[in-house]
């Protein structure tokens, strides 16, 4: 009997320990997912912040540039023919190469290399007639080889960089003519079909504009609505209905808001397609319930003694609310707003539906210019097959996550710094 009891107790204690372990394993799994995920993104993405250049020499030959004037003006330089000069700059890397094979060398730099040759001369007009070194953007294939993201040992016919190009690359690399620098153009240039030229400037501005529009629409309406519902609304069927409505709206899938934007904002109000204005309004409809709920919660947290004191001093209901309750609730409301905006920042599906997925290679200057947004940019790039875009996507994700972390930190700071603790 005694041993039976002992056994039972042992069993129960084992079960207890096992159960604890299940919990620990579950938490461990969740944390592992997060770690693997972050590791993947960072290990794939950090190299996008480096840009590869190929250094060569360019001879700004007046004859090849087709410049006749003795002292050419800016316009002459602007209109000169840079094709041959740029071409020579690349082919001079291997003078022994037969002419029909030249493309192999040209393919090693980005297709915009001619513009780069031109821009250097426009910046330094005194280079005319001289032989000067120049940095050209390497093509994304060479870029990937240089970063070690591209396997060199697969058979040549399956490779986008052939043996000859690898040979030239090795030669240049040995000479120190392959440079790696911080990739400023990733932040300053718009989207491009070529991975080596693509940047996030257009989608970044698109995101900024959408979020501002979203804030401008959702914040005032949400705060006013919250004030009404919390401070003035009579308790009746209709206000109950509004309340249920808001709670349900907060759980409606985001894509449905995209359909709303498409069916109402674009089709009925004829607002311009693919613009941050429409995107922002669509997102504001989504964040509206989130902000209302946060604002109501923080209005509710203001103790009744504040209201009673104000009323006792003869303030009207409206004055009590506007002068005392609302200002005291602002920290909570603001941090809720920032969290709502952070959610809107990561939304993709509704923006795709209202056409913010279009290819935009200009940087938008106003909310009514076509634009993408950062999450949509992630989607667009991840759909393209080129290897160079994988690191771009990861880098874009890092920027987006940094943005989100900053916003959440801001929300925390607002909450902890300014919120009064009522005890």
């Amino acid at each position: 009997m005694n041993s039976f009891k002992k056994n039972l107790l042992k069993k129960r204690y084992n079960a207890e320990r096992r159960f604890q372990w299940y919990g620990k394993i579950a938490i461990g799994l969740a944390l592992t997912f997060l770690a693997v995920f972050m590791f993947q993104i960072f290990s794939k993405g950090y190299s996008a912040f480096q840009k590869t250049w190929i250094v060569t020499e360019v001879h700004y030959d007046k004859e090849l540039l087709l410049i006749d004037a003795e002292s050419p003006s800016k316009d002459d330089l602007e209109n000169a023919d840079y094709y041959d000069v740029a071409y020579k700059a690349m082919t001079s890397l291997d003078p022994g190469l037969p002419e029909e094979e030249d493309r192999q060398l040209i393919q090693m730099v980005s297709y915009k290399y001619e513009t780069e040759v031109k821009d250097l001369l426009l910046k330094n007009p005194d280079f005319l007639g001289k032989i000067v070194p120049i940095k050209l953007t390497a093509s994304d294939d060479v870029d990937q080889v240089h970063k070690g993201n591209y396997p060199r040992d697969i058979p040549e016919k399956n490779r986008r960089v052939n043996d000859y190009q690898l040979q030239i690359y090795d030669m240049l690399n040995e000479r120190g003519d392959i440079l790696s620098e911080f990739n400023i153009s990733f932040f300053t240039s718009p989207d491009s079909r070529e991975a080596e030229l693509a940047g996030i400037a257009s989608s970044f501005m698109g995101t900024v504009f959408s979020i501002l529009v979203c804030l401008a629409f959702s914040f005032p309406i949400a705060v006013l609505a919250a004030i009404y519902l919390e401070e003035f609304a009579p308790k009746n069927k209709f206000t109950d209905f509004i309340e249920v409505n808001i709670n349900n709206l907060a759980a409606v899938p985001s894509i449905v808001f995209g359909l709303l934007g498409l069916g109402v904002l674009l089709a009925v109000f004829n607002l311009p397609r693919s613009t941050p204005l429409v995107g922002g309004i669509t997102l504001s409809l989504m964040t509206l319930p989130t902000i209302i709920i946060a604002a109501r919660a923080s209005l509710k947290a203001v103790p009744p003694s504040i209201r009673e004191a104000a009323l006792a001093m003869g303030a009207s209901n409206m004055q009590t609310t506007m002068h005392h309750t609302v200002p005291l609730s602002m920290p909570g409301t603001l941090s809720g707003t920032i969290i709502g905006l952070a959610q809107a920042l990561g939304e993709t599906a509704p923006l795709i539906l209202i056409g913010m997925v279009a290819f935009v290679n200009t940087i938008p200057g106003t909310p009514v210019d076509p634009a993408a947004s950062l999450p949509v940019q992630i989607y667009i790039w991840s759909e393209s097959a080129e290897r160079g875009f994988v690191e771009k996507v990861s880098a874009c994700i890092m920027v987006l996550l940094a943005f989100l972390i900053l916003m959440n930190l801001a929300a925390q700071i607002v909450r902890h710094k300014f919120e009064k603790k009522w005890s």
Binding site: Y228, V252, P253
Partner: protein, 458 residues
């Protein structure tokens, strides 16, 4: 033009605020004020801006459709369909704006001239009416300022109305959703029988693509069967819940019952980071890392695995939902009264026995509610499926094959340029309304369950 008008109204409102306040100071010298001087300003400003802006908004909403009926009156004798009329109207507008590039007929030219003329009349009428209203309302308001009527009450009543109208915003959004979805969906169901939509087993809308003319009704019948999509949606949600429920629930229980203060302080926010990551990022992760990984493992075991398997999408979705379930169940479990625990311990039960036999049953309604909310989240999730699972609607229960969902199909149909009036485009709205109904149903049940549960212990 509109911008100038609105700016003018707003500027006038500001001026009248200062004017009203000044007037109050003048009145003060002879009689007692009924309110603070600023209320005189608010009173005037509100009377200045509100009526004019309301009329302006109404005008802007109704003007285009009135102009449209006037223009299209000339075409009524040609027995054109609605879509053709719409096309003509678009052409007329483009011609009037000078952006039309097609063939200009006399008739079109005439209409465009008429359009420009009508617009001109409408614009001057609008300005005149708004100016008249401004004068009327300002003079009315000024008279009551002069008479030194009560000023604070009307301003506060006005403010209260503003607050009330703002609170209607959320209701308007819901109405907007329902109507925009219904409007297109009803037109879709005129072309496709609702029965074929709900019970058909083939989803292949690309088949019905037509540029001009009427789509073939025979093709339509077999192209819009949504069963594979419903099945795919719930299948992927099921896979997600298989990942999320055990991990989320167990970590929720551990955090609320076992974890020390230190672990809780750090582990909880870190797990919640998972919920803050944008879904497009999960989609990328699923497509690039998890999908190939699942495929490799499957191939090593001799199974045929699609690179875009439902399993990869579902598993990643599950990871996304973990914090949702864990923090909700954590809250629910913490809300279980301490005396239930104490009672169980007093009977000699171990902690895990207490959790399993006392706390879990007590918290069950709340947990079920949070799971339902999580399911609704999984059903509505879009980007992960678009990027990581297939876009072809297979009717399959094999997690290693690719399937598609309602949300993914909406994106597939509506990405790029859409033609309104095309049954393919309309089908997206029909899918949207079924998605809305399903999630609404789940949410209503979940919210009411959770609410009842809260009331029980409060």
């Amino acid at each position: 033009m509109n911008l100038i008008l609105v700016t003018f109204i707003i500027l006038l409102a500001f001026t009248s605020y200062y004017f009203g306040r000044k007037k109050a100071l003048v009145i003060q010298s002879s009689q007692r004020l009924t309110a603070l001087p600023k209320f005189y300003g608010y009173y005037l400003a509100a009377w200045c801006a509100a009526p004019a802006l309301i009329i302006f908004a109404l005008w802007s909403v109704f003007e285009p459709s009135i102009v449209k009926t006037f223009i299209l009156q000339d075409y009524t004798d040609q027995s054109l369909t609605k879509n053709e009329l719409q096309l003509i109207y678009t052409k007329v507008k483009a011609l009037a704006a000078g952006t039309y590039t097609g063939n200009i007929t006399n008739f079109l030219d005439e209409s465009a001239n008429k359009y420009i003329q009508l617009k001109g009349i409408a614009n001057s009428a609008k300005v005149a009416i708004i100016l008249a209203i401004l004068i009327l309302s300002l003079s009315f308001a000024y008279r009551s300022v002069q008479k030194n009527d009560r000023m604070r009450e009307p301003v506060e009543i006005f403010l209260k109305w503003v607050l009330f109208v703002a609170s209607l915003g959320a209701v308007l959004v819901t109405i907007g959703i329902v109507f925009s979805l219904l409007f297109e969906a009803i037109r879709f169901f005129q072309a496709v029988k609702i029965f074929d939509f709900i019970f058909g087993t083939h989803w292949y809308p690309a088949k019905t693509f037509v540029r001009d003319g009427q789509p073939d009704p025979e093709l339509m019948k077999d192209a819009f069967g949504a069963v594979p999509l419903f099945a795919g949606t719930f299948f992927i949600a099921f896979i997600a819940m298989c990942v999320a429920i055990p991990i989320g629930l167990l970590s929720g229980i551990y955090l609320s019952e076992y974890a020390g203060r230190g672990v809780r302080k750090y582990a909880k926010p870190i797990i919640e980071i998972l919920a803050g990551i944008p879904t497009v990022v999960y989609g990328f992760f699923a497509a690039l890392t998890v999908g190939p990984f699942v495929k490799e493992i499957g191939n090593a075991m001799g199974l045929e695995v699609s690179a875009e398997s439902a399993l990869a999408a579902g598993a990643v979705m599950g990871v996304m939902i973990i914090p949702f379930i864990s923090s909700l169940s954590d809250d629910v479990i913490t809300a279980v009264p301490q005396n239930l625990r104490d009672g169980s311990y007093a009977m000699g039960a171990t902690k895990s026995e207490t959790v399993k036999k006392v706390i879990f049953p007590a918290a069950l309604p709340g947990i079920v509610g949070s799971i339902l909310l999580a399911v609704s989240r999984a059903v509505g999730e879009t980007m992960i499926v678009v990027m990581a699972s297939g876009l072809a609607a297979n009717l399959t229960m094999n997690p290693l094959e690719s399937t598609s969902t309602i949300t993914a199909q909406i994106v597939v149909i509506l990405i790029g340029d859409q033609q309104f009036g095309d049954p393919k485009t309309q089908s997206a709205f029909a899918l949207g309304i079924s998605l809305f109904i399903v999630t609404l149903f789940l949410n209503v049940i979940a919210l009411s369950v959770v609410k009842k549960y809260r009331e029980k212990y409060e």
